[in-house]
Every structure is written in C-alpha cells, then in structure tokens.
C-alpha cells in the first residue's frame, strides 16, 4: 500500500472519529451510543497500517486476495454496530409505550379529579 493511500485511509478514519467526538461535545450524540462509532473510526485509522497483518492472516486462511478479508471484517463491524443500535431502538420503543400508556391513564385520572372538584 502506498504512503498516500495509507494517509488517505488514516485521515478518513480520523475525520469520522473527530466528527463523532464533536457531536458528543455539542450534546447531539449520547456518549454511550457514540462508543460504537468511535471504535469504527479507530478501526479505520488502524486499518491504514493493517495490510501487513492482513496479508499474512489472509494467506494463512487461504484467501488469495487479502483485501477481501478487510472487507469482511469491516462488514462484520458494521453488522454488529447495527445490531447494537437495533437493540437500543427496541428498548426505546418499549419505554415509549410505557410512557404513552402512563400519560393516557394519568390524563384520565386528572380529568376525573378535576370534574370532582368542580362539582363541589
């Protein structure tokens, strides 16, 4: 891999890392949810020099074209990232349901009590 390519990949990873950090700093991205994206950015930065390791591992696994291994690993990282956020979304949906139901029940109770007070 040429130096320019390594530098480009490193800068792309660094940009992602910095972007996510910036979003967290501005309060637009929750810290606990940003960890996955920071890890992806870090992985991208490290991958700029990973070809040395990748080439050896790929050949040992019988993969004749090492970049394929890189793509597979990237794909797995993204899949697990999406899985994590799907779990988060699922939790949020449950919480939203609970809140909506509580709101409806409380609103009804409040209305009933208000009517009772106004009848006195």
């Amino acid at each position: 891999m040429s130096f320019q390519v390594r530098l480009t990949i490193f800068c792309m990873g660094l940009s992602l890392f910095a972007l996510v950090l910036g979003l967290v700093r501005k309060g637009r991205f929750r810290e606990e949810l940003s960890v996955v994206w920071l890890l992806i950015g870090l992985t991208a930065m490290l991958s700029s020099g990973a070809d040395v390791v990748l080439d050896r591992v790929a050949f040992k696994l019988g993969i004749s074209y090492p970049p394929v291994l890189g793509f597979v690993m990237l794909f797995l990282v993204l899949v697990f990232g999406f899985l994590y956020f799907s779990v988060v979304a699922s939790d949020l949906k449950s919480s939203l349901k609970e809140l909506a139901q509580q709101t409806a029940l409380l609103e009804h109770e409040l209305k009933r009590l208000s009517e009772k007070i106004s009848q006195r």
Binding site: K93, S94, L96, K97, E98, A100, Q101, T103, A104, L105, E107, H108
Partner: protein, 231 residues
C-alpha cells in the same frame, strides 16, 4: 360481574359513535372505555360526546398497545371481566352475551369470538392460508380447536388481563397465535365461540404487498419465543 368494554380506536371518527352506542345498547351493564391510539382525526371528541370514558394515547403505539392500555385501566379499577371490541364497527357487540355464556359454561379464562365457526366471512387467499397454518399450530399445541386466532373480539377474566397488562406481556401490534399459546402455557383456559363480524369497509389493507411475508416471519419467531421462554 363488573364488566368493562374496551374499544381501541385509531382514526375511527366515522364509526366510533355507532360502536359505543351499540355496545351500550347490547351490554348495558358494562362500562365503556375508548382507547384513542393517537388518532389524527376527531375520534377522541366524538367518543367523549357519547359519554364513554376515553383514554388518549399521545402517539400511535399500535392496536396491541392500545388494548394493553385498556387492560391496565381495567386492572387498576377492579373490573372482573373485559370484552374487547374494535372501534371500526367490525364486531357485533350483541355477540358479547354469547362469549359470556361460553365463558360461564366452559369455565374459560378467555373466549375468542371466531368469525369462521359459523359465518361466511371472506378473506383473501394469502391471509386465509396464514390463518389456517397458525390456527393448526395453536390447535396442536393447546389441544383446543382454534379457527380465528387473530380475532380482536375477546372476553377475558381479570387474572388474564392483569397478566397481559404487565410490561411486555402483550405485543404492540396484533395479538395472535403466540398469545393463545402463551396463555395456554400459563395454564389459562382459552376457547372459541362463534360470532358475526362485518367486512371492514375501505381503508388501507394491512395485508397488501409484502406484509403477509413479514407477518409469517414475525409470527413464526413469536411462536418460537413462546416455546423457549420460561413461564
């Protein structure tokens, strides 16, 4: 028995008044609560004008979520039995007595009103096939014949709806075979009784496009979860 009729409704301003009035006429001993599932039309004010109690969900959480809200209300206010009736006018409230009679005769905990036991209700081929497959699954698992597991016209005893009112014990979308199997696993007695239902007029079909495919996948997973989960 202290009875509550739960009517979940989403954008049913055209039918809700009639549904409430018919329910009141056919089951005069029952209190009525309309659960407005985040409707964007006048479902809520129309329902309130009928004199029914109305629970207004701040956003649309789904048919199952709306029903569960009704269960929570019923559990909190000491009702012994609830009857669930759709707000779109599909269910004929006069058959609630049939459900009550079957509940008493068979000492059942849940009675599901089936539109297929006697009626001529027509459904599309894909839906018919899915209902048949999952009905057979429920029948094999419980030992009781089920023909209409997706029916929303149901009568439930307190011990059942109190359980279903808790946290994630009820699906957000449509209760189906998985609920029947889960209740059977909990040792509740679930039976069917014949009822009459009207064909749903107009509206977007929930069975169009790829929805039946997703429905089959989702239901298969839900059934596996019931079998795997500890009671």
């Amino acid at each position: 028995m202290k009875t509550l009729a739960i009517i979940p409704a989403y954008n049913e301003e055209g039918t809700i008044q009639e549904v409430v009035m018919r329910t009141r006429r056919e089951i005069p001993s029952a209190d009525i609560v309309v659960v407005n599932d985040g409707s964007s039309d006048n479902t809520s004010p129309v329902a309130e004008q009928t004199g029914a109690m109305v629970l207004n969900l701040p956003c649309n959480i789904g048919y199952g979520g709306a029903l569960q809200t009704g269960f929570r209300f019923a559990a909190k206010h000491g009702y012994e039995v609830v009857v669930t009736i759709d707000g779109d006018g599909q269910h004929d409230p006069s058959f609630a007595h049939q459900l009550m009679a079957v509940m008493a005769a068979e000492q059942a905990d849940v009675v599901i009103g089936s539109r297929f036991l006697q009626g001529q209700y027509q459904v599309g081929l894909a839906r018919k096939l899915a209902i048949r497959v999952f009905s057979r699954m429920a029948t094999r698992y419980t030992g009781t014949t089920f023909t209409d597991p997706t029916s929303g016209f149901q009568l439930l005893r307190r011990r059942v709806f109190s359980y279903l009112a808790l946290r994630d014990n009820y699906p957000l979308d449509y209760p189906d075979v998985n609920i029947i199997m889960a209740l059977h696993k909990m040792k509740f007695k679930v039976v069917e009784a014949p009822v009459r239902m009207m064909e749903k007029p107009g509206g977007e079909s929930m069975h169009s496009g790829l929805k039946p495919v997703f429905y089959v996948m989702r239901m298969s997973l839900a059934i596996v979860m019931v079998l795997l989960k500890k009671v």
